[in-house]
């Protein structure tokens, strides 16, 4: 069922969810300019599950961070749902992220002092939902990732796989437009990694979530519908 290395499904007339045009990112250190991403074009359509691969240092994380609106490009345009996010101010961007992006990190990045419930609830603190509505949503999300019975556990009382499930529930909770995952299985053993990948595939299949995932693992990349290769800041293949 792998659809790796296929071009974007060019559904004519459909607007891409993510439209990247002429994107460059470079760092300046002293009088040295370090190019990380060079004049990059990419479209991602709603409902896609994209795997981003490439050697270490090729700029995968940088690209993902730019799409997720936590970093600013040096030049070029990133449109997500038609909004040029590079043009947004800091606080507009924060609000935009809270509504449109769900994050999954390699090391889970849960708040150590909050329970699984509290961690999943965290993004909802930025909404106007009532306490009861929040509780209901968190319960649903925890059920989806199979952790209903661990709601009151702190992160250090959970296994790595369980922590990543909590993180996935947190990424889902605001019903975002886009989910970004940077090596979500990088810290997990093979069996646990398969479970997490299965969960991500379900989010894409059953809930229609658009997912962009950075990974080093070809097995993980196989679960995606489309594979993008990045090398020295340029898309290949």
């Amino acid at each position: 069922m792998s659809a790796a290395a296929q071009p974007a499904p060019a559904a004519e007339g459909r607007q891409p969810l993510v439209a990247i045009h002429g994107l460059s990112k470079y760092y300046v250190r002293g009088d040295q300019v370090i190019p990380v991403l060079v004049d990059l074009d990419l479209d991602v359509y709603a409902g896609e599950y994209v795997a981003l691969m490439g050697p270490s240092g090729s700029g995968k994380s940088t690209l993902l961070n730019l799409i997720a609106g936590i970093d600013k490009p040096s030049s070029g345009e990133i449109r997500v749902t038609g909004v040029d996010i590079a043009a947004l101010s800091d606080s507009e961007l924060a609000l935009w992220r809270s509504m449109h992006v769900g994050f999954i990190f390699q090391f889970y990045n849960l708040m150590p002092v909050l329970t699984a419930f509290g961690n999943v609830e965290l993004p909802l603190q930025l909404t106007t939902l009532s306490r009861a509505e929040r509780r209901e949503r968190v319960a649903t999300a925890l059920e989806l990732v199979g952790l209903t019975d661990r709601a009151t556990h702190l992160p250090n009382e959970l296994s790595g796989g369980q922590q990543q499930r909590v993180a996935i529930a947190r990424a889902l909770i605001t019903d975002p437009t886009l989910i970004v995952a940077d090596e979500p299985t990088g810290d997990l053993d093979r069996v646990t990694a398969q479970e997490i990948l299965g969960l991500l595939a379900r989010l894409n299949d059953e809930l229609g979530k658009t997912i962009i995932m950075v990974t080093h693992d070809p097995k993980a990349a196989e679960t995606a519908h489309r594979l993008i290769h990045l090398e020295k800041g340029v898309l290949v293949g």
């Binding site: 924060a94 609000l95 935009w96 509504m99 990190f105 990045n109 708040m111 002092v113 509290g118 930025l126």
Partner: protein, 388 residues
């Protein structure tokens, strides 16, 4: 739209020892700060409550205290003839001419001499000071060398027990009673017969005249009458004001000195809070990056760390206040340099001091927490996330 308080408070709890030590440092400063203010408040309260509202004190113009004052019999006669003086149920006019002198007695604890007020009193004196009650022995007999001592004298000075004799003004005076003046300045006085005192001290003049107004609203008129009379050189004050004025300088001295010391100490506590908060920010860099990624703004991060620092200050403030409130059990005796006489008073916690101490603690937290919080808010998200 902000980071939940539970998250902030739990981070303080997670670092229990650091939190306790930092808050402890602030608690010590608040303890000193509150104690000193309580001392000043206690002094002020003792002296203010010494005066009665409708009593009037008359002293010689220009003399700050009764000890410095002198009023001869021709002038006291004019005062006594005022029609505004209240009359007791038994027909006695409520006016008293009193000599006030200082003698030196050894303190019970140290043996060091301190000045004590001797007041010659009359039949009307007790009616003028209803707060004074005899608690041991009996009242002195007029026309004898007997005295009664205030409660703070009896507990604070040597040779002042019931039945002992005090030697002053070339006479032996027998202590026949102890009185309680309800934590007012009179507790630090020795009372005997006014005429006996004048004779013994060979003084031709009284120190002050105290009387009760029949109509308290007539104070201004009475004051004008006495102060404008060309035969008199007198100053007229409400008794409450008279004693309140005596507390001003010492209370101000205590609170200024104490506040100054507290502020110097607080620099240490603020640095401690800043170090703790910097450590808190550093150890949670990845968390800060994650919160920002999830959509919490720079302002929310700044606020969260400021609240954390304020909570730290609040814990310190409450702990310091609890410690300071235990001081209320203590009575302090010291020389009031306005009257040169020893005065006993207690640490007194007032609502104003509670508010001031908590504000002081919160200010320490805020100042200590501001730079670390600003650093947390300034971080770039990608840099913060890389710190994982």
């Amino acid at each position: 739209m902000a980071i939940p308080l539970g998250y902030i408070a739990r981070n303080l709890l997670a670092r229990r020892l650091t939190t306790a030590l930092t808050a402890g440092g602030m608690a010590l400063v608040v303890y000193v700060f509150a104690s000193v203010l309580m001392l000043a408040a206690g002094l002020r309260q003792t002296l203010v409550s010494t005066g009665q509202d409708d009593n009037v004190v008359v002293i010689r113009r220009g003399s700050q205290t009764e000890v410095q004052s002198g009023i001869d019999r021709s002038q006291t006669g004019i005062i006594e003839s005022l029609p505004d003086i209240a009359v007791a149920a038994d027909g006695m006019r409520l006016v008293s001419k009193e000599p006030v002198v200082l003698i030196s007695l050894p303190k019970r604890a140290t043996g060091k001499p301190a000045n004590v007020v001797i007041r010659g009193v009359t039949a009307a004196s007790l009616d003028l000071r209803p707060q004074v009650r005899l608690v041991e022995g009996r009242m002195f007999r007029p026309g004898t060398s007997e005295v009664v001592v205030g409660r703070s004298i009896a507990t604070g000075f040597r040779g002042t027990d019931l039945g002992e004799t005090l030697r002053f003004a070339s006479r032996d005076w027998t202590i026949v009673g102890v009185f309680d003046a309800g934590h007012t300045g009179f507790d630090s006085e020795i009372w005997g017969d006014a005429e006996q005192m004048l004779q013994a001290f060979r003084r031709p003049v009284f120190s002050s005249v105290i009387f009760r107004l029949a109509d308290p609203d007539r104070f201004d008129a009475v004051k004008a009458t006495l102060e404008n009379d060309p035969r008199l050189t007198l100053e007229v004050k409400r008794e409450r004001q008279f004693y309140a004025d005596q507390s001003q300088a010492l209370a101000k001295f205590i609170s200024t000195l104490g506040t100054g010391i507290s502020i110097i100490f607080s620099i240490g506590a603020v640095i401690g809070a800043a170090i703790t908060m910097y450590a808190s920010v550093a150890s949670r860099t990845a968390e800060i990056g994650t919160l920002r990624a999830l959509g919490f703004s720079r302002g929310a991060i700044l606020l969260a760390f400021l609240i954390e620092a304020l909570l730290l200050g609040l814990i310190g403030g409450i702990a310091g206040l609890v410690g300071a409130s235990a001081m209320q059990a203590l009575t302090i005796s010291t020389t009031n340099f306005q009257t040169f006489a020893e005065i006993a008073f207690s640490f007194t916690l007032t609502p104003g001091i509670v508010v001031a101490s908590l504000a002081f603690a919160l200010a320490m937290g805020f100042i200590g927490g501001f730079l670390p919080a600003a650093r947390a808010a300034r971080m770039k998200i990608v840099d913060a996330l890389r710190a994982a």
